[in-house]
Symmetry: C2
Amino acid sequence: MVQSMTKVHPRDVRETLRQIEEAQRAGCELMRVAIPDDEAVEALTEIREGSPIPIVADLHFNPKLALKVLRRGIDGIRVNPGTLPRGALKEVLSAAKEKDVVVRIGINAGSLPKGYLHYSSPSEAMVACALDTLQLAESLGLQKIKVSLKASEVLETIKAYRKFSMLSDYPLHLGITEAGPPFSGAIKSAVGMGILLNEGIGDTIRVSLTGPPILEVKAAYHILGALGLRRRGVEIISCPTCGRCEVDILPIVRELEERLQSVSYPIKVAVMGCVVNGPGEAKGADIGIAAGKSKGVLFRKGKVIEKLPPEQWVERLLEEVNRLIPSEGSGCRGSSETR
Amino acid sequence: MVQSMTKVHPRDVRETLRQIEEAQRAGCELMRVAIPDDEAVEALTEIREGSPIPIVADLHFNPKLALKVLRRGIDGIRVNPGTLPRGALKEVLSAAKEKDVVVRIGINAGSLPKGYLHYSSPSEAMVACALDTLQLAESLGLQKIKVSLKASEVLETIKAYRKFSMLSDYPLHLGITEAGPPFSGAIKSAVGMGILLNEGIGDTIRVSLTGPPILEVKAAYHILGALGLRRRGVEIISCPTCGRCEVDILPIVRELEERLQSVSYPIKVAVMGCVVNGPGEAKGADIGIAAGKSKGVLFRKGKVIEKLPPEQWVERLLEEVNRLIPSEGSGCRGSSETR
């Protein structure tokens, strides 16, 4: 399950819902919303009513806010034993149990309770803290539990999830925390989550990026797609270009990426820089173009089907993509004239 | 070793060298240049003379070009048994041996020789083709050899490298071929190379992106940094922001990323959205700011050292970063006035 988190105070219900809807169209299946104060609690009802996907409330420091949220109704809550003292945590978990609400025990290497700071490594401390919190939750009869063990250090995160997954069967929510700006943050997340998911560890994921939620969702699907776990939308296979390239394919790739971003049906589109080995090298693509100086070849599954002048490449590719999408699927944007 | 490839025809010596120098400043240690024709061969001498890093010639189809390049002198060559018939390949490998030039046997799932198309999977075919080519190379007495087994499918690439590394000790050059545009291509590459490097597989890497070489190099270091294999430049640890955030940290992160991009010394800089748990959550950072509504706190290794109004955050952070860089290291760009 692909998750994200809204980036504004919930009092801005309109922007919160806009972010949720945009992320949902990109494949987001669950949205977390921070609840820092009473104003946020007030807004939550309207947000839940307007949201096309379930909402998880992110709760720290103030158990009263958590209890209010649970009374008003919520799809899930995230608690962090590092930001709620044990007594308060117990109260919140009991209320969640009573309301039959899913709880994520979200451990974070940077906000561990004081009692866990003597461990030899952040991963050991996170696992110990998670296990202790689970014991408390189980003693209260809680069953609907997910666990996360996030650090900003990729290797510590991997160690924590690996160790925990050997000791416990609770579903795991994966993430690298404070991963940073989109490009480097997505790479860091892809390394960490890629390694874990490839080992069969992880049930839900969120890529944390300093950027809009839609980017987090796109990054998540690129990771899942690379591992063959879930494919969604257009995968662009494009050569990096080199001195052999007779046409600058960069603007073509950019335009296709932009105009195909609303497609949810999984399709591989190739844009290759030369006709010599383009179709061969992109055999795995559903449809593609191999650029030549005056003509490019349109190919389907590695077979050349048509020769086209450069000005027709993008429109013909979009046409072909639309043809490949089953009628109930979402299509790509129309020609530039109708945009 | 981090590699990249130039993106223009070598006849444009000036742009080729500009790309090489830009990539080198970002940490590129070896540059590949495509040699599609005689004009490229002619340009190569000037490019080699002007380049601060070794040049590998990428040779396909025409053995005569390869022989000419070897006669003129080159740091390394890349050959693909799928684009040079066995006789021609033998001739080229012999010449490389004679000139004591490093050869990369670069297998590509999409351009395998016809004899390997009956294998059950691209990974099996790539490994078989690599082993056969190595046998030929060894029979000619060649020793300076690297091998790559690239596919655009991440899982096939992983399988190929894993299998090959169990059967052979030759150094491996890692890559996901035709990975695509920067964001998705870097993620795909991070998943594939992250998994392999984490298993100890891979000696040199190139991230193939449909974008400038400098982006490929940056992506490579983000992958290596995430795995703790090699750290270079500024790692920005920044929270994804949420409803708890009192200041929009996105523009701050963007400005820091931009102005710190020339730093090569490894430093972790944190930008956190709230003062409450910012410094704690970014304890691993060398220096950082945790944003509050009217004041932000500057912290070093998790300890608050100063309170600052928003307009001073970026400049003070840059100042602190410069202070942390040993004098021989490269500094970040000065204040916006002096840019």
